[in-house]
Symmetry: C2
Subunit: 314 residues, 2 copies
């Protein structure tokens, strides 16, 4: 099997290690700090046990054995077909790391960044191998949430995007191809629009933050876990999506006009209100426990989706 090099062994690097090793790839997990690597090994082993308990992997030891940690970057990159960078989210760090990767990695290696917000053009422009660089943005944690947003710089070779697409598919992920750079890629503009609308509902005094959450998780969010927004509305009018937009477009346009204007992203008073309401339901010191609950729910949902995909179809 091909070798994948992961540069940076924090949470995202660890998660990628599980993704690629689970799919049979040989994984080199690099970090400059030996202590980070020790922690990473233990965390990966613990996480693989969790995944096994949900039936999501069958041989955790064999998977863990495919992950080799190293604090030697050249060793990590040696022979790697794909390099996935997981450094801190600062453009000057990305620029430095990508300079080094382009210098040290084999000429055929793809160089991908996990950045959630910095376009590849901002840290690859001056590189000799800039045509082999792109963003491959995962949703945390990628071994449970398969989406990967592939976003090329203007100079990224389309064949590199295709190779990365195929690799991610082969690794069991669900890659999508952006056609050009955009701030926040695809998920964040949609998530931002939804959160912005949610904030306006609370700001306007129409509903509590908790009721807004219930409206999604016990309402429209159910469909969105197995169909996107376009397929959802395609099936919600007898004639399909164009029929739907003819029927309900005017309603959405009217809502949009009434709720016009930017969301109150920096309204301290509103943020304090939403924060206070959340803390009634979940005390600050229970955030960690609740995050563990979320991860178990995501594992159960991943197992459910794999099962119904076989039984009912996708």
């Amino acid at each position: 099997m091909q070798k994948v090099a992961l540069v940076g062994a924090g949470l995202i690097g660890q998660a990628w290690a599980i993704v690629f090793a689970r799919a049979g790839y040989r994984v080199a997990l690099y970090d400059a700090e030996a202590v980070v690597l020790d922690g990473a090994k233990a965390a990966i082993a613990a996480r693989l046990e969790d995944l096994e308990s949900f039936g999501l992997v069958s041989d955790p030891d064999a998977i863990a054995a495919r992950v080799r940690t190293t604090d030697n970057l050249e060793e990590a990159l040696d022979g790697a077909a794909h390099v996935q960078e997981n450094a801190p989210e600062r453009v000057e760090v990305k620029r430095e790391v990508f300079g080094e990767l382009d210098r040290l990695a084999g000429p055929d290696a793809v160089l991908a960044s996990s950045t959630s917000g910095i376009p590849a053009s901002a840290f690859t422009e001056g590189l000799a191998g800039r045509q082999r660089c792109l963003v491959a943005h995962p949703i945390n944690p990628p071994y449970l949430v398969p989406l990967v947003e592939l976003c090329p710089a203007p100079w990224t070779d389309p064949a590199i995007v295709e190779r990365t697409f195929d690799l991610m598919r082969a690794a069991g992920q669900s890659p999508i191809r952006l056609r050009k750079e955009i701030r926040g890629f695809v998920v964040n503009p949609m998530q931002g629009a939804l959160i912005g609308a949610a904030l306006k509902l609370v700001e306007g005094g129409y509903a509590s933050a908790e009721d807004v959450d219930i409206a999604i998780r016990d309402g429209i969010g159910l469909r969105w876990s197995f169909m996107g927004p376009f397929e959802t509305i395609d099936l919600n009018a007898p004639g399909g999506i164009a029929d739907y937009l003819r029927r309900y477009g005017p309603l959405y346009a009217a809502i949009e006009r009434e709720q016009e204007g930017p969301a109150a992203w920096d309204d301290g008073g509103l943020i304090a209100r939403v924060e206070a309401e959340r803390r009634q339901f979940l005390a600050q010191d229970r955030l960690k426990t609740r995050s563990e609950w979320r991860d178990r729910r995501l594992m159960a949902l991943a197992a459910h989706k794999a099962k119904v995909k076989k039984e009912i179809g996708e």
Copy 2:
């Protein structure tokens, strides 16, 4: 058990019949057309069989036996504690039906409308019993998607909202209380914001409609099927939601500025493009088959959520 009267035996009336009969209520299902009632009985029986096959009900015959159909409105309303109206979505129809309901229903009956878009104030103002009227808007189909949006008119008695809230809870639904009228209630402003952002991504040439769908169903939509958008971000920063909004609010604000302006709800060219792309994945004549697939997936998801709620907690 209490009696619930359902006025209108189309798809929504049938679905409400399953909700209330499943919870043990006696249900009177009224329609002026006897042929509609015959169709409704058969459809309810068929749907209960589907639900049984997913473990979502255990005694379909007993449930069906609790639903009595009638084309006599007075008989349907006699002794009903709750009346749920499911007439066509036209304000003059709602006004006429509510006039009749207020005249004929017992003085203690709550009068609720299933309307998805007309505020209760638009069709209850002149009624002697207007304080007992409100909207109780389901998401289709309510026996699989538990959310019910309760939206009072300015004159609705708060105690009536509370009674309806308790009834919906007792029926196994997940009601939320709007504090005042707003176009589209809570779900549609959020769904509209998301679809609007999705349309802008396609319009701007950043991604295909299919990739936008994948971004939700294999990405952020997974979390939204068991957590709302606020809880999602509350768990996505170490310090909770206020910490998250401090970190990522500027990103969302920048995206919002870049994507400013109304979505192209009536751009025929864009709608035709999205429609054409959807039809590549799903031919027009397969919309019905795909809707049946969606219903089976919703049933499987409802069964999954009930199971993990017990095993992992909510």
